[in-house]
């Protein structure tokens, strides 16, 4: 059972006063304290965990964000920031004694600056809306998480979101140039900007992926790219996942970096095909979707090379898209894989480990053993180019004990990822979901040093506590300096 920080009685007892004080900062409907109004905020995309927040605050200016945080800081009130609430790891799970600070009113695209190839946007703008604002001029914003229609750029910054094109174009962290954010004490700061680097420590890089623990992002400068001249996708079917994995290695080893390389296993292929009729072959064990982009002459050239390598590795089925509609259809199956699996099972639990790609066959085979052991089916979709796995564990929440079984199965998968040299999460974040598994990957010294970073930003630990780190240590305790071996002068160290 998930243990969140104990609610602060002192804060809960002052709830009415706190709500009134917050209303003085954010007027009108921006402060929601009735239960019906708070209900939609009780969970994010990780729906297994729910908690009504003490109060919801929806500011619409950076000054209000600053004043709310300053007030909460002065009054010892915890704060959980939230974008669109699409997190799959519970990053926006509310606290019983906490303010849920929603950025949904920050929906403006403030500036599109083509000469400097960037746009300045507010954090509540959806990922897809950025591209939509510039696509008529032939530009786009590269990271494209599957939830891009709903998820916001502020959430993307918090989670360092990926997508299917990050093999070639990078993650959020490689595509964000600057932010304005508010620290827990209300201070407004800017890191980075329209230039390609910033002086001093890379605080922008540190903020991206910090899961709302270090600051509340109020403005984002994103890098815009010119859209490629053309794009084509190839579907390649294999009778064994080993052959599919080996083909990916061969393509990259031959010096090609496709825009995207996705892999699906048989269960995922069948679910997706039944749902969107993407034209996937149904008689294969593994399917690769490989996208090439660039001038038509380059794309055609690379598709030929990919096809040769795939045949050498025993591909049974190769089909390249012949039109834009067909390319989009190829992707529709992959992009809808989660809901497609949702149709064949009452519930599913989506995992997100990353592994060294070469270990894939071993990991898939051991995952099958785990599936038998836990008695639950698993469908696999996989960002094969960068080793990011999304096993979908099928279960039925109405069957007593099945959720726990699914969670145990998931934890075993993630431990397996770490065991083979991978990591707990590739793009969904730690949140509350993987928090208690952090010890499988990090030592206590590793985790303590990370928590000291938090202490530099938010020493009272009021911003999104209970996420990412399994044990909350007080900053005073973390800050203590241990001096060892005071008088041993470098035994055994060669010096000259």
């Amino acid at each position: 059972m998930l243990k969140m920080p104990d609610p602060d009685r002192n804060v809960l007892d002052r709830r009415e006063q706190i709500v009134a004080d917050l209303r003085a900062i954010v007027p009108g409907e921006g402060v929601i304290d009735d239960e019906t109004g708070r209900r939609p905020y009780e969970c994010d995309g990780l729906t297994a965990y729910r908690q009504l927040p003490m109060v919801v605050v929806l500011p619409d200016t950076v000054e209000q964000v600053s004043a709310v945080l300053k007030y909460c800081h002065a009054n010892g009130v915890r704060v959980v920031p939230r974008g669109a609430g699409t997190s799959l790891s519970g990053g926006a799970l509310p606290l019983e004694d906490g303010v849920l600070l929603g950025l949904s009113k920050f929906r403006k695209i403030l500036e599109v600056d083509y000469p400097n190839r960037c746009a300045v946007v507010q954090p509540g703008v959806t990922n897809l809306a950025i591209t939509q604002a510039v696509e008529h001029d032939g530009f786009y914003y590269a990271p494209d998480p599957s939830s891009q229609i709903a998820c916001t750029i502020g959430g993307n910054v918090a989670e360092n979101s990926g997508g299917v094109h990050c093999l070639k174009y990078g993650l959020t962290t490689n595509n964000v140039m600057g932010i304005q954010m508010v620290m827990m004490d209300g201070t407004i700061v800017r890191f980075g900007g329209k230039q390609l680097d910033a002086p001093g420590y890379d605080l922008l890089g540190l903020m991206v992926g910090s899961e709302g623990l270090l600051g509340v992002v109020t403005e984002v400068v994103v890098r815009l790219l010119k859209a490629p001249e053309s794009m084509r996708a190839v579907l390649i079917g294999f009778s064994a996942s080993e052959a599919a994995g080996a083909t990916v290695g061969a393509i990259i080893g031959a010096g090609m970096i496709p825009a995207g390389i996705e892999m699906m296993d048989k269960l995922a292929i069948q679910a997706a095909e039944a749902f969107v009729h993407a034209g996937y072959p149904l008689n294969v064990e593994a399917l690769l979707i490989i996208e090439l982009d660039g001038p038509a002459i380059e794309v055609d050239h690379l598709i030929d090379r990919v096809a040769v390598l795939a045949k050498e590795h025993g591909a049974t089925d190769i089909r390249a898209s012949q039109s834009e509609a067909e390319r989009v259809a190829f992707w529709a199956g992959r992009k809808n894989a989660f809901p497609a699996v949702g149709r064949i099972s009452p519930d599913y639990y989506c995992m997100d480990g990353t592994i060294p790609r070469a270990r894939l066959p071993e990991v898939l085979s051991r995952m099958n053993d785990l599936s038998a052991h836990h008695g639950l089916r698993v469908a696999n979709v996989f960002h094969a180019g960068d080793g990011n796995l999304h096993p979908l564990i099928l279960y039925d929440a109405n069957v007593p004990g099945e959720l726990e079984k699914a969670e145990n199965f998931g934890a075993d998968i993630l431990k397996l990822c770490v065991e083979v040299g991978g990591v707990l999460t590739g793009e969904h974040g730690v949140g509350v979901e993987k928090r208690d598994l952090m010890g499988a990957m990090f030592t206590e010294d590793d985790l303590n040093q990370q928590q000291r970073v938090k202490c530099a930003f938010d020493p009272a630990q009021l911003l999104n506590p209970g996420k990412v780190f399994p044990t909350l240590h007080r900053c005073a305790e973390l800050g203590r300096v241990h001096v060892h071996n005071g008088h041993t002068r470098f035994p055994g160290l060669p010096r000259f």
């Binding site: 032939g138 530009f139 900007g193 230039q195 680097d197 992926g209 707990l424 590739g426 000291r452």
Partner: protein, 403 residues
Amino acid sequence: MTDSFTPNSHDEIRDAVRWAMANDAPMEIRGGGTKRGWGKPLQTNHTLDLSALNKILLYEPEELILQAEAGTPLAEIERRLTAFDQMLAFEPPDIGPLMGLAAGQQTLGGIIAANMAGPRRIKAGAARDHFLGFVAVSGRGETFKSGGRVMKNVTGYDLCKLMAGSFGTLAVLSEITVKVLPVGQKTRTVLVLGLDDAQAADAMVAALNSSHEVSGAAYLPRAIADRSSVRRVADVGKTVTALRIEGPEPSVEHRSAALRVLLGEWGKTKELHGNNSSDLWAEVRDVSYFVDDQANAIWRLSAPPHSVPTFLTELVKDVGAEYFSDWGGGLVWLSASPGERAARKIRAAADSCGGHATLIRGPDDLRAAVPVFHPQPGPVAALSERLRKQFDPKDVLNPGRMS
């Protein structure tokens, strides 16, 4: 007395840092030593020399990763990668000669600690964007790690970003994992001749805002172009705006032809192939044009690329500097007199467009008199200092280097 300690393992680094803590004996952290002249001069009696930590630990071309000890010479890493037609795509500069030292001395740790990036920065990112994981010893004498050996990882804070560009002031990097990428099969450079600053800025915008995937965009004023070791550049007798295209052969031919049509609007174009092309980008990357005049101060100015021409002409006239630009205009290298007046003017120019200026090379008295790194707004500077103290509470690692 200056002592130099040369650890052979993480544990020996840890022992050295613990000794420094116990004896309040700050240490200079040293890799190849090529960037010792960059940053505030240090006043330490002890050096932690990482040159014995020089092994490549893992290289898997199909996985696009390389793991090496921090003191591994970059030249050795590049030799290994070249054998598999791969590279560090951020194109790390070798500023040894610019600093008055020999070429080829720098280490992987030094490149990461300074977050270096060459002309391909505009397309592929900087060292930070290719830095996947590390093991380090903090100024608390604790060994810790962050990141991993996979491309996609959001497990915990991204401390790689914090380490990149921290100049050894937070922790001593011991093992480093980086992403590597295939070398483009073919490279061509399109030159546009005779443009002034403003025209060049617009031409570079046109090129970078095209779909031709330009991987280098530099502007050389005439005096700089004249100094090029590439005859086809030096003989032009005009300013040179250079744009690089890389990739599979048929694509490069298509894109460089299209780029010449596009840029024909601005001026006469010509093309560089093979060594001419790679030599030109190596000069731009390594700031070779300013190697000979070792008396001047060298500044590196980073700004929104299209804002630069508005202040550059004025600045250059005012302080009598020479300059050229890279990164589509977003990175300007200035060679100016080593006085404080020029320093103030350059800083003010950077401030005027939201950019920043770093003193890369200068005499000790100038480096002591003006901040080497661009001063930051109060709250950001205070936050950075709090962060540093969380890693190095007793100020034993390169103390004051970034102040």
